[in-house]
Symmetry: C2
Subunit: 408 residues, 2 copies
């Protein structure tokens, strides 16, 4: 049952298996389909890697597993020289990890599209930042003109922070367009993207768009159980960090500690700062190999698959007469859908009815909005349509609404 995964598993071999990397092992036991915006459904091979027997974090067999994961993380966000940090923790830890580029009193512009924008800002304030928000009403997003105006009104932002997809509202920011404006109007500002609900499911071109930091987590588009915090920093961000004049503000998030560790593992040697989460890294290695199995084309096709599945879900939901939380389709995430619950139905009743049909969806988060629910559609649920996850979630939504006497 417990196969020791070959650390050096050839990428070529992996690709030659074809686009669909279905496991040859026993399929997943029957369980509730997890169709929330993360944790998402995990591939059989990823789960098998989670139960890799005890392995030393300095075992020669483990070094390439970690090293390859670092290299492949770079490929997924499309950077040549960005520095990945793969650290045990939740996505939330990413905010602490990147906050060390800030010093007391540094001003930050927050492009805020929901609950996670508020939370990101709260974290920045913990580290002494002065945060100015550009907000739009629930479901919409600030325009590039709004950002331009904010950058003209106040000069010298150390950082512009943007949530790529705010998991609370399902609103998608146009990072490419925003980054272009920021680079023009405030070239010194670091561009920091919270990609927790976006990396692996939304288009992202770290180098081409001039991003400085992306943070994400394992349990969404990367397709790995929760417990890994992923941060990628540009050389510019690393320079800003190295030039800071005041004391570093936390210990576990200190890039000076992690940088030599990442460099060591990438060079297939080991260095200790904190024990890496060995099993999660085996799982990440497997999942990243699947994601990158067909190179840049495969990655691009993967993003397209998310667009397509998202279109299906949104069309089905709208076909049922339900209203999306995002006010426009181009401003809506491709990895999740946020939908207002019909006034005649209570959200917990809808979630329970769907759970009884074997599908787990999510309720809303505490934002100033009418009651709503959320459906996740990322990873194997969209790139392996033969699993029929999307079909299953749409059908069970339909029948659950009927059971609850919904009339559109």
């Amino acid at each position: 049952m417990h196969r020791r995964l070959a650390g050096g598993l050839s990428r070529t071999l992996c690709s030659s298996v074809g686009k669909r990397l279905f496991s040859t092992r026993t399929p997943l036991a029957k369980h509730k389909l997890c169709m929330i915006p993360g944790p998402i459904e995990f591939h059989e091979d990823v789960l098998a890697a989670m139960s890799t027997p005890a392995t030393s974090h300095v075992d020669p067999d483990f070094l390439p597993v970690f090293g390859e994961a670092i290299e492949m993380t770079r490929e997924v966000v499309r950077t040549d020289k960005g520095q990945p940090f793969l650290v045990a923790g939740s996505g939330t830890l990413g905010w602490d990890m990147m906050s060390n580029v800030l010093e007391e009193g540094d001003s930050t512009l927050m492009v805020n599209t929901g609950y996670f924008g508020d939370r990101f800002a709260e974290s920045l304030e913990t580290y002494g930042a002065n945060v100015h928000h550009v907000k739009a009403s629930i479901g919409s997003r600030p325009s590039t003109k709004d950002i331009e105006a904010a950058l003209v009104e106040h000069k010298g932002y150390k950082m512009v922070a943007i949530t790529h997809v705010d998991t609370s509202t399902g609103v998608l920011n146009d990072i490419q367009a925003l980054a272009q404006v920021i680079r023009q109007r405030s070239p010194e500002s670091l561009i920091v993207v919270d990609g927790v609900c976006a990396v692996g499911s939304e288009e992202l071109a770290f180098d081409d768009w001039g991003i400085d930091i992306v943070i994400t987590a394992s349990q969404k588009g990367l397709g790995v159980p929760p417990g890994l915090s992923v941060v990628v920093a540009s050389q510019r961000a690393l320079d800003v960090f190295k030039k800071r004049s005041s004391r570093i503000r936390n210990y576990y998030g200190n890039w000076n500690k992690w940088l030599p560790v990442m460099e060591a593992y990438e060079a297939r040697s080991a260095l200790y700062f904190a024990t890496p989460p060995v099993q999660l890294l085996y799982a990440l290695n497997v999942s990243l190999k699947q994601i990158l199995a067909n190179g840049p084309t495969g990655l691009s096709e993967r993003i397209d698959a998310h667009r397509k599945a998202s279109g299906q879900v949104k069309a089905a939901v709208q076909g049922l007469g339900l209203k999306l939380v995002p006010t426009s389709l181009e401003g809506a995430a491709n990895g999740m859908t946020a939908v207002y619950t019909p006034p005649s139905i209570k959200t917990p009743d809808l979630i329970e009815a769907m759970a009884k049909k074997g599908v787990q969806i999510a309720g809303g988060l505490p934002i100033k909005a009418e009651p709503y629910f959320r459906i996740g559609h990322m990873g194997i649920s969209v790139v392996e349509p033969e699993r029929k996850h999307i079909q299953h979630v749409i059908e069970s939504l339909h029948s659950s609404l009927n059971e609850l006497n919904y009339r559109s």
Copy 2:
């Protein structure tokens, strides 16, 4: 293959299975025995729980899994009202987690027995503490008299920090005796124990000994793959935290954020701050049920088993004419053994020779000592002697030394 573990698995059922909780499933695939001081060898059922299919962190099935893990953590450290925090991260994160009880300039006494004492202090200094060290020479430990003298010389330590077992030297501190002296001489000082290489393998009585904070990690005595940071705080520590007058110093380690989350899950409901590492918590639930299967007696027998296995390893090593790093047996850990490498042999050669025989041991850490190596003996390797892990490590050490032409 992937069994959904019943969240509400009855403790009574678990106990009735008897002391040895051997899995009925396929045994572990052949792999190198991981006999380092963490990660340790993991039980089949713990590894199976690691591959629990995707489960929402707010799924009703998951709530008791997390809730029970919180309750059982309390039992393992022997506290009635201490507050556990179970957070995605490495053991190192525990230092940041507990540092929020400190404010700029607070003085701390560090009972330092090696590399991890230095590192603990470095973390405290990141948070603005003034750290005074009481050190002993490599392999020995400060006496209670040394600590008493330090507490008389300088009054008003906000905290006394002690590494229970320093994983670099294998030195065991006598927490009970030290805590007694600290309580007498400096009753206001918080007593903070780094129990990363001790919880589950060394005796610890949080309430009876008057401990304020214990930090540990999943991959040692708790028998779960790395990725979980475990902190337990006394009500007194929580009060100190709540009464702090300055800003909280980090975001991810903010107890104000975690406390309601832990309380919610313990009450079998859910609250969000950061996505919990669902699979690791399933695994922790399984492992803690094994550890506590026979209640306090079982826990006490477990510590005895570690003493016994440690005695075997240390006697075997000394029988081979090798010298222990700890200068006394009562000051040596029961979960690991640190041994000087014979001058005629290079440590990497010894590690490699043992790896060829299927046993992974660890080298030394960067401390000012002659070359040495480390063997871990915790968890299933000692409480399930029928696995013959201890025998295997001793035999392969013996034959590896012979191969390398060692003469005692």
